[in-house]
């Protein structure tokens, strides 16, 4: 299941309402097209999409320690609502829409206990370590993937959750805005506006973080 690791083709995305990146079809033998598609079984959905759900929960900002429980909750909802899924549409955005709602709830709950657990390793890992090389915008290519992910996740924390959701689903997961619109039941124009603003916010957050990190360098 290397599906989610494949880079969506940004130039293709959201321009014509095309289907999500080909990785969706690759992730699972589930029928995604039109023409009387069969509804996948719960087992197929679980087996074909667990990794994507887990990763998206992480991208939505669920803490590492909560990821398993959040994934559990997502699939409980999926099990209950699978019969509501419109099999003529790609299933991944539908799943990740559920994941977004679950993630939102986990984030809300985690805020209450943040102070209690703020010293754990997870909180530590979300913080840019002192020895991190300069995150200069032009020096970003010097960062390895792990550092880039850390930078990205910290910057994502600066985003409003709704904006973060659409940015994750579109720019990272590679889903088309119309599919996201259907999955989240949010107007397409609203989503475009959120995405545009999300990118602005994210860029600003990255810049701020890298500037801060730069200042910390000798």
């Amino acid at each position: 299941m290397s599906n989610t690791d494949q880079a969506p083709r940004h130039q293709d995305l959201g321009v014509d309402g095309s289907a999500p990146a080909a990785s969706d079809a690759e992730a699972s033998p589930l029928p995604l097209g039109v023409g009387g598609p069969a509804r996948p079984s719960f087992a197929e959905v679980y087996g074909g999409h667990f990794k994507a759900v887990w990763l998206s929960l992480r991208r939505f900002g669920v803490w590492e320690r909560d990821l398993d429980d959040a994934a559990h909750d997502v699939f409980i909802v999926v099990h209950r609502r699978l019969r509501d899924y419109d099999a003529s549409r790609p299933i991944r955005p539908w799943l990740l829409g559920i994941a977004a709602r679950v993630a939102s709830e986990f984030r809300r709950k985690s805020q209450h206990r943040h102070e209690v657990v703020s010293e754990d390793t997870e909180a530590e890992s979300a913080r840019l370590p002192a020895h991190t090389p300069a995150f200069g915008i032009r020096a970003d290519r010097a960062l390895d993937d792990k550092q880039r992910r850390k930078l990205l996740h910290q910057a994502l924390e600066a985003l409003d959750f709704d904006r973060r959701t659409v940015l994750v689903l579109h720019d990272i997961e590679g889903h088309a805005i119309p599919d996201i619109s259907h999955a989240l039941d949010v107007n397409v124009n609203t989503l475009y506006a959120r995405l545009r603003q999300a990118r602005i916010d994210l860029k600003a957050a990255v810049t701020a973080l890298t500037t801060t990190a730069d200042r910390g360098q000798p």
Partner: protein, 273 residues
């Protein structure tokens, strides 16, 4: 619509997104661990929705316990959980999942009682334990890449299918003595699980068979059909290509039931491997 398109992401964000997409995914075993928890919760909620009022403790222990068992050896589940059966009815289900991915599913449906009866408290049911001579718990599903999906499918089917058994009398509910009615119910439950395993084997679904057998092992560790269960487990392991485990299981089987009529069948199943 095009005019609404945001600009493409710039190189900096693009490089961060690309790095994120290269994330390798959850740690090994996560999918199986969560799967066990999901199955447990589905079974517990099935019990509730079918009329039995399962205690919230049952649900919470099933869901949080299994996911919390990151150590890989913890048994989590409905141990000690009670379901309060309404006078009218019905299903109590217990699922115990190991963090390693093995899943026990024990399910009982209590038929509507024809005469009024007070609410009874039933300890949901023979609580599965780590089977002393268990063939399954010795290895996590993660070692059998082909197994999880089938296992899951079979387990979910199992969870969603009720096994009709006669209503146990109150004495049986107290769990003190096995009455004739309770024995009938237990045997019916045993037979249903073994039949499930046999059906799975016949359609070449070794994973599904192993789940049903594990459910039997958990619910009826010393059941009347234990011999058949262990024999079928060896055959299912062989069918799944897990030859070492099958051989090990066959040796244990022979030690436990040296004169078993299944002996030749097991030897045959392993002969060509």
């Amino acid at each position: 619509m095009n005019q609404q398109q945001p600009d493409d992401v710039d190189d900096v964000l693009g490089s961060l997104f690309a790095a994120e997409r290269r994330h390798e995914g959850p740690p090994a075993g996560t999918q199986q661990r969560v799967q066990a928890a999901v199955l447990a919760s589905i079974a517990a909620s099935a019990a509730v929705s079918s009329g039995a009022v399962a205690s919230t403790a049952a649900v919470s222990s099933a869901s949080s316990g299994a996911t919390a068992g990151s150590g890989g050896s913890a048994l989590a589940g409905l141990s000690g959980a009670a379901a309060i059966l309404k006078p009218a009815g019905f299903v109590a289900a217990a699922v115990v999942a190991t963090a390693g991915g093995s899943v026990f599913v024990a399910q009982y449906e209590v038929s509507p009682q024809t005469t009024p009866s007070p609410a009874v408290v039933v300890v949901v049911p023979p609580v599965p334990r780590l089977p002393p001579a268990g063939l399954i718990v010795e290895r996590p599903l993660a070692k059998a890449p082909a197994a999880p999906a089938k296992v899951h499918s079979a387990a979910v089917e199992q969870v969603q299918r009720a096994v009709p058994v006669p209503a146990p009398p109150l004495e049986a509910a107290a769990g003190l003595v096995e009455t004739p009615a309770e024995r009938t119910a237990r045997l019916a439950g045993e037979r249903a699980l073994i039949a499930e395993a046999r059906a799975a084997l016949s359609r070449d679904d070794a994973g599904g068979a192993l789940v049903a057998l594990e459910a039997h092992r958990g619910a009826h560790p010393q059941g009347a059909l234990a011999e058949e269960r262990e024999a079928m487990t060896v055959m299912a392991l062989a069918r799944a290509g897990r030859i070492d485990e099958a051989r090990s299981g066959a040796a244990k089987f022979k030690a436990s039931w040296p004169q078993s009529i299944f002996g030749p069948a097991l030897a045959s199943a392993l002969q060509d491997r």
